[in-house]
Symmetry: C2
Subunit: 108 residues, 2 copies
């Protein structure tokens, strides 16, 4: 198996990996993900709390759900979205730590 768990990643895995990062790479979509990671939340609540149209939120949630970044659960008229698994929060935490790190003098 040439597709192990270290960094010798096979090409299809790279495409999938890039797709996940790409989905998190949009500020609006990232805010939606963060809202879902905190707690299960309905589409309309995401829209109102982030001041976005429900339509836009739905568009983004569709992509996020297709990539299994979030999962959906219906409760009456509303559909609640939440983080798909723990890896997502792990990724977000690592990136936040990366940002919080002091500049190592390798910029500019």
């Amino acid at each position: 198996m040439s597709c192990q768990h270290d960094y010798s990643v096979c090409d299809p895995a790279i495409a999938q990996l890039a797709d996940l990062f790409h989905l998190l790479g949009d500020p609006t979509r990232l805010r939606i993900v963060l809202a879902c990671v905190m707690a299960p939340i309905a589409v309309s609540d995401i829209a109102s709390s982030l001041e976005l149209s429900s339509s836009l939120v739905s568009h983004h949630l569709r992509l996020l759900r297709a990539a299994r970044i979030v999962k959906s659960e219906r409760q009456g008229k509303q559909v609640f979205y939440s983080a798909a698994d723990a890896h997502i929060s792990g990724v977000l935490n690592d990136m936040l730590e990366h940002i919080a790190e002091p500049s190592n003098g390798n910029e500019a």
Copy 2:
């Protein structure tokens, strides 16, 4: 301080976070990052091993270095690039685990 280390992320941090993910969201750029994460490597070696033009690799490395995802080190004519810190590999590992996870029946 409203900008703590949990998910109540302030807006400028979200922009920065999204920018990092966006940089990893391109397959070509992600391959370059993976090459750098494995071991310090020169621009020309990245280009030849990934079958890309040196120009394209330089363009991407500029962006990656600006975001402190990679760092550069000159050795003679060549410039070696490597991962900026451990958080990057942590993020990549988490995402790989996310991919490797069995489908939880929430697709399609």
